[in-house]
């Protein structure tokens, strides 16, 4: 049941991404809106998947890597849909939906037997995964907005193809989304790191065991701490912030997911 729901969710995200891409190519606002509905429907199905997981197990097995990534996709999708109420971001569906698809597709492909439910530390493992995934999801939105900002900034500076596709967001909207996602995502990531440390202490008696995951994640957190200080403390420019958000997310994705996969 859960696998089928995940596959259907992945299909909806994929369809939304393709529609949004087509809407950008033909500069069609209405098609973009259909893509948003597709993304919303996917998010709803995604929620049903987690609900099914809850009903199947006393504690949802979110601590498996693939399901944590799927959860991250869901939070990212919901955050993006919430931002759509405030900003004209229709064009970004073409970037967000494929990423959501990849997250769910990865979970749908993973064997269900890999799930561990008894990890010790009470509710700390789940708090850690939920907070860190939500934080990463928001930082992912910041990274996507940063990538879109850089592309848009380059186009406007080069003065080529100035009649842009209608649904593409403005530079200002992309910069605000970047700042907002960073402002909310970093505290969530911090809480994720803290709960992670508490979880490790509950099991090993010390918050630091020096695993590759811990080292890489701490470095990623430190990088984000610097980026946040630069953005909100020093007043870093929009273009550099976009570049930082993109670079930070690439590094964090590798630190959290890449290192796990390599191990």
């Amino acid at each position: 049941m859960t696998a089928l729901l995940l596959q259907l969710t992945a299909l909806l995200y994929l369809a939304a991404g393709l529609l949004a891409g087509a809407a950008l190519v033909v500069s069609h606002d209405r098609l973009s809106r259909v893509a948003v509905w597709g993304l919303g429907l996917g998010a709803l199905l995604h929620a049903l998947t987690f609900s099914a997981l809850h009903s199947g197990a006393a504690t949802p097995p979110l601590t498996s890597g693939p399901l944590a990534v799927s959860f991250m996709s869901w939070v990212g999708t919901l955050t993006f849909l919430a931002l759509l109420w405030r900003f004209r971001l229709l064009g970004l569906v073409a970037l967000v939906a494929p990423l959501s698809f990849l997250g769910v597709f990865y979970a749908a492909l993973s064997p269900p037997g890999a799930v561990q439910t008894d990890l010790g530390g009470g509710s700390l493992p789940h708090a850690h995964v939920l907070l860190a995934s939500a934080g990463l999801a928001l930082l992912g939105i910041a990274g996507v907005a940063g990538a879109a900002f850089l592309a848009e900034h380059g186009r406007l500076k080069r003065k080529r193809h100035l009649a842009r596709p209608a649904p593409w967001p403005s530079l200002e909207a992309l910069d605000r989304v970047n700042a907002l996602s960073l402002a909310v995502g970093f505290p969530l990531l911090t809480l994720g790191v803290v709960t992670g440390a508490l979880w490790v202490r509950a099991i090993h008696g010390t918050p630091w065991t020096g695993t590759a995951h811990e080292i890489w994640c701490l470095v990623a957190w430190a990088i984000y701490a610097v980026l946040v200080a630069l953005r909100f403390g020093v007043g870093q420019g929009a273009r550099r912030s976009a570049l930082s958000a993109l670079g930070g997310f690439v590094f964090a994705s590798f630190a959290v997911i890449g290192v796990e996969l390599l191990q």
Binding site: F87, R88, E152, H153, L156, K157, K159, H161, L162, A163, R164, W168, P169, S170, L171, E172, A173, R176, G235, Q236, G237, A238, R239, S241
Partner: protein, 432 residues
């Protein structure tokens, strides 16, 4: 007679070449042109996007060389080189020249297709030519026809709908940078017609504030009152720029006023906030080097042209209809212009018949011994007979002259009536 048009516009030449041809007063150039033997009539149109001269000439090649020399030396402050004139100027003759004038007046050749300003600018150019005595009956007719065509295009098509001013195009571009123009501060540099149009366009966007900075404080104040803006002198620019999100500049002067130093110092006061600079001045008011500043988005007329042409793509059907109207009107004018070829023949024929009538009256009247009333009656009678006889053939000649094949009719008329012969030898025999 030939029509010849030489010009340079936003499509044929880049802004850095066009800005060298800035003409404050067209009259000296027009006087110089019409003083030449080969040029009978001339009109000069100069806007921020084009400089064009249309002339009526008896010797097209000499006139072309004369116009070429005018573009090289006499228009604007700086002289253009041969390569620039040959590479960036276009030359249209007769039908093509007529079509071009009609398209320009109808705003089909404008950077922003359908924009309303070009018609006023064309009328102003024509008025200057009339006042300086450079325009004559043929160009009068051409320009009146162009104004009528522009009116027809505007009323019969929807070409004037959508973003039809540089300011509207600029607002569209601003939306790619800013999420919303509400709450933003705009700075207008200059107080000319373009700034006035921009103020009209921006007023509807709900900007937080609009400031007008100009050399002449009175004019800035006048605009400020009309558009609920504040007026400033150019000396306040450093402070004004520090607060401006949208800067629109169109002010005279040979050197840029928005320099990299000025912009850099303004950006220091507003870290991380972008500035959208629209430079519609010719010569340019903003130094292109400010592009190197990450937060500055500067666009000049050439940059706006690409956006404007994409906007026009959306009105392609209307464009096709407008071009069809221009085609019809061109044909109509060409017909009238071609019919002018019949004028010498018709005049000659009329003069010859009138001479015969007068000669015959001179012979007959002394013999008839009529009083004054009867004499006038006979004169009127002979005139009416002559007019009635000539009416049909002359009308036919005029009609036929509008077609190239109709030239044969003119030839035959000249042959039949001996119009090319020596008048002494064509004297008819005395039948007394």
């Amino acid at each position: 007679m030939k029509l010849l048009l030489m010009g340079m516009n936003h499509r044929s030449a880049p802004l850095e070449v066009r800005e060298q041809l800035t003409i404050e007063d067209p009259v000296p150039a027009l006087r110089k042109l019409t003083a030449c033997d080969e040029i009978d009539e001339a009109v000069l149109l100069s806007t921020c996007n084009r400089v064009e001269v249309v002339v009526l000439t008896r010797d097209a090649e000499s006139a072309r060389l004369r116009l070429r020399s005018l573009f090289r030396r006499d228009l604007g402050d700086a002289a253009l080189g041969d390569r620039e004139v040959d590479g960036y100027c276009y030359v249209y003759r007769d039908g093509e020249a007529m079509r071009h004038v009609l398209r320009v007046a109808s705003a089909l050749d404008s950077m922003v297709v359908g924009e309303p300003q070009i018609l006023g600018q064309t009328k102003q150019a024509y008025r200057s030519a009339v006042e300086s005595g450079a325009s004559g009956p043929i160009l009068d007719r051409l320009f009146q026809h162009a104004f009528a065509t522009a009116k027809r295009v505007r009323t019969d098509t929807r070409i004037a709908e959508g973003p039809t001013s540089v300011a509207r195009v600029a607002v569209g571009l601003a939306r790619q940078i800013f999420e919303d123009l509400r709450g933003k501060h705009a700075l207008m540099i200059g107080a000319g017609e373009m700034i006035e149009l921009a103020l009209e366009a921006l007023r509807k966007e709900g900007l937080e504030s609009i400031r007008v900075a100009n050399r002449t404080a009175e004019r800035a104040a006048e605009l400020a009152v009309r558009f609920d803006a504040s007026a400033h002198g150019l000396g306040e620019l450093p402070n004004l720029l520090a607060d401006a999100d949208v800067v629109l500049t169109s002010i005279g002067g040979s050197r840029p006023i928005l320099t990299p130093e000025l912009m850099r110092s303004a950006l220091r006061e507003r870290p991380g906030r972008p500035v959208f600079v629209i430079d519609i001045g010719v010569p340019r008011n903003a130094d292109p080097q400010i592009d190197s500043l990450a937060e500055v988005f500067r666009y000049d007329l050439d940059d706006l042209a690409s956006v404007a042409s994409s906007n026009a793509d959306g009105r392609r059907q209307e464009l096709v209809r407008a071009e069809a109207i221009v085609g019809e009107e061109q044909q109509r004018f060409e017909g009238w212009f071609a019919a002018l070829r019949a004028v010498p023949t018709i005049k000659h024929l009329r003069a010859q018949v009138e001479a015969i009538r007068l000669r015959e009256l001179e012979r007959a009247l002394p013999r008839l011994a009529l009083d004054d009333g009867a004499r006038e009656g006979v004169e009127a009678l002979t005139r009416a007979i002559v007019n009635k006889i000539l009416h049909a053939p002359l009308s036919r000649l005029r009609r036929e002259a509008e077609r190239e094949e109709g030239m044969a009719y003119l030839e035959i008329a000249r042959l039949l009536f001996g119009l090319d012969d020596d008048p002494e030898r064509t004297e008819e025999p005395d039948d007394r």
